[in-house]
Assembly symmetry: C2
Homo-oligomer: 148 residues x 2
Amino acid sequence: MRSLVPILCGVLLALPSTALGQKDSGAEAAIHRGAAAWAAGWNSGDAGAVAALYAEDAVLMAPGMEPAQGRAAIMQALGGALKAAGGSQMKITPVEIMQGDGMAVEVGTFVDTAADGSHRDHGRYIAVWKNVGGTWMLYRDIWNSSMP
Amino acid sequence: MRSLVPILCGVLLALPSTALGQKDSGAEAAIHRGAAAWAAGWNSGDAGAVAALYAEDAVLMAPGMEPAQGRAAIMQALGGALKAAGGSQMKITPVEIMQGDGMAVEVGTFVDTAADGSHRDHGRYIAVWKNVGGTWMLYRDIWNSSMP
């Protein structure tokens, strides 16, 4: 039995990742949906819808302000940003997704177009997602502008 | 035996992470050393020393410029930033490190003090590290300023 156990465990370890909680084949799709939902929430001016994508203990690290810690603070920060944006339309493009154990890292780009159609901003972000009871939620989120 | 195997596998899965190749107990120490080396390189104006911490295929996403892709471009970007910084001194503090399979995510803060001792900037960063042949190297790196 001693000799069999490592083999059986080896087989177990080689199983598709969901079985071990190491990788979640649904994570990538969930994160793509999340990125689309982020943009949709922003584009309709709905800070609550965007904030709902963040875990309760998430931290939003937006440029030009101290970090917003927790979903309530994040919603407030997003509300202020939306007001300043004046109906801008955000396009978010996930470029790569790396998975860990119950976490995933998304690197992507954004383009923000003002309500009058002019180019408002563009840049990159890194978002760390974590699996909270089966739902992938934003946990750490940072971006910056590529514009001089 | 059928009933024992899951238990034994459960024990195996609960072993320190290095045994499973999922986490590297040396990663956290390596990343702390890396963060210190980043600051030391910056503070001595040595773009090459800082660039050497990045993987060959790393991407540096610094505010106000398009991403620098690859170590050579990163060194050039850092050289420009160092010139603009005029001998500033950077303090970098890793706040949390999350590990995946051959990758790790570091979230931290920085404070940048001008050569004349005045406060130049402070903010947050997310750095994705990857294990390249046993060495933890910066793979994706983004930061922004908390200052208005």
